[in-house]
């Protein structure tokens, strides 16, 4: 059955012009929005004031509800623990015994480390924390993995700063409002973190795949050094992320592709720590005159 066309403006000239004008506005709007998208691709910081304000306005909704969610998931967990108490107890006792030995070993290593560092007179910038906040939400849409952090410019958060949890690296700040900010998670396709293998220090790049996992790519060509269960930590190369922050654990090591899972799951962690950029010079854009000077020198 053909539906009757209800969009026909009739025979009035005026109505027809109005109808036509509607399309002109719509098509013009599409073109303008496409220009805006192109501007956003060229300069992701565009509209930062507007976007920051939107982030501030919406963050109370998000952070208010987060505690409720935590209450429910936490409740389910504690009921589970109640039923598993006995078996968990023996398991934990065994683990405690094992880890006590480890602690002693670690203490010895730590002492050794301190002594060696003192010998080398190593001065390392300590990446002190700026603020501790909560990850209160994330994007739901298809291709980006961005988290919302409940701290913003008023707490000292700036674009580019690394965000971590006690368990491991979360990502870095890409957008700030006064009260909230957006974090590019390490699982996002645009995130790339220089890492090294804990076992032997092999350098690699950890790139997000957009589906909650991370792909590890070695810098040198050759046999993949990764094995299932390997842990990678940040290497500090690039100067943004501080070194030795745990990043991910390898879950499948194929011939070509190595997939890892982030150690800090933004959906489960309670608190995230925003830190200073490890080497502040790395976050600065290259000075134009400096660049020209370098160019002349060569």
């Amino acid at each position: 059955m053909a539906p009757p066309s209800q969009r026909r403006p009739g025979f009035s000239r005026r109505a027809q012009y109005g109808f036509f004008l509607g399309y002109v506005v719509a098509i013009g709007g599409v073109l303008v929005s496409l220009l805006l998208v192109i501007a956003a691709i060229a300069d992701p910081q565009g509209f930062s004031a507007l976007r920051g304000a939107a982030l501030d306005l919406t963050s109370p909704v998000t952070s208010g509800g987060r505690s409720t969610i935590g209450f429910f998931t936490g409740g389910a967990d504690s009921i589970g623990s109640y039923f598993n108490a006995a078996s968990q107890n023996t398991e934990l006792k065994r683990q405690l015994k094992a880890s006590r030995q480890r602690v002693i070993e670690a203490r010895a290593i730590e002492f050794d480390n301190r002594r060696l560092k003192a010998l080398l007179k190593l001065t390392r910038e300590t990446p002190d924390e700026i603020v501790t906040a909560r990850i209160v939400g994330s994007t739901w849409d298809a291709s980006r993995r961005l988290g919302t952090l409940s701290a913003g410019g008023s707490d000292g958060v700036r674009n580019g700063q690394p965000v971590r949890a006690p368990e491991g690296l979360i990502g870095r700040v890409i957008e700030t409002g006064r009260l909230a900010s957006r974090v590019l998670l390490i699982t996002d396709g645009a995130s790339s973190v220089p890492v090294q293998l804990v076992r032997d220090g092999t350098p690699a790049l950890a790139t997000g795949r957009g589906d909650g996992t991370i792909e590890l790519k070695t810098i040198e060509v050759g046999e993949s050094p990764f094995k299932k269960g390997d842990i990678v930590v940040t290497s500090g190369v690039g100067g943004i992320y501080p070194p030795r922050v745990p990043v991910a654990i390898v879950i499948s090591a194929g011939r070509d592709v190595t997939i890892a899972r982030p150690l800090a799951d933004p959906a489960r962690i309670d608190y995230a720590i925003v830190q200073h950029v490890y080497e502040p010079a790395a976050a600065q854009p290259i000075n134009a005159s400096e660049a020209a000077r370098l160019g002349d020198g060569q």
Binding site: P3, A26, V61, A190, G210
Partner: protein, 171 residues
């Protein structure tokens, strides 16, 4: 039933309901993203878009193509897309539907679902492409679960929209 029994205030309320329920419910659907849920993988459909398409297919005479511009702008701001992405894609959706409707010989439930599925694919692919231009390396393959779920969710959203429409028009 009878209008005579209603006060002028009731009538005004009914007018507001008639006029603003479609836009209001779409805005509410856009705001669903603000729920405090952290997702590691793309899975949950963009309800704002589903509501918009469902309303548009149900009541073509109510929407002009340019209505999608401010709604898309809101969606961009709330869900952290680059500004202009939803504005462009949503308005293009309306223009595509206008074009199809001017040519369609018949319409039924299944055809609506098919149209909605194609539009969901168009919207997801469009935002994936822009993310790609912005430096994301994510493969298109990771989006299939979300696309499938969106397509399966469309009939549910369409039911909700029909119920809202019925409530909107009750006397």
């Amino acid at each position: 039933m009878s209008r005579i029994a209603l006060t002028s205030r009731d009538m005004a309320m009914k007018q507001v309901r008639r006029r603003y329920v479609p836009v209001g419910s779409t805005v509410a659907a856009i705001m669903i993203v603000l729920l405090p849920v952290v997702l590691n993988a793309p899975l949950i459909p963009d309800f704002g878009y589903l509501f918009l398409v469902a309303w548009r297919l149900l009541r073509p005479e109510m929407w002009t193509a340019r209505t999608a511009l401010p709604l898309g702008f809101l969606s961009d701001l709330v869900s952290g897309h680059p500004v202009g992405l939803s504005m462009a894609l949503w308005t293009m959706t309306f223009l595509i539907l206008d074009f199809i409707e001017s040519r369609a010989v018949f319409r039924d439930y299944w055809l609506d679902w098919l149209l909605a599925s194609l539009l969901i694919l168009f919207y997801t692919a469009g935002s994936w492409f822009v993310a790609r231009l912005m430096g994301s390396q994510a493969a298109f393959g990771v989006l299939w679960p979300q696309i499938a779920l969106s397509i399966l969710f469309y009939p549910v959203v369409a039911r909700i929209v029909v119920a809202l429409d019925r409530w909107r028009l009750t006397r």
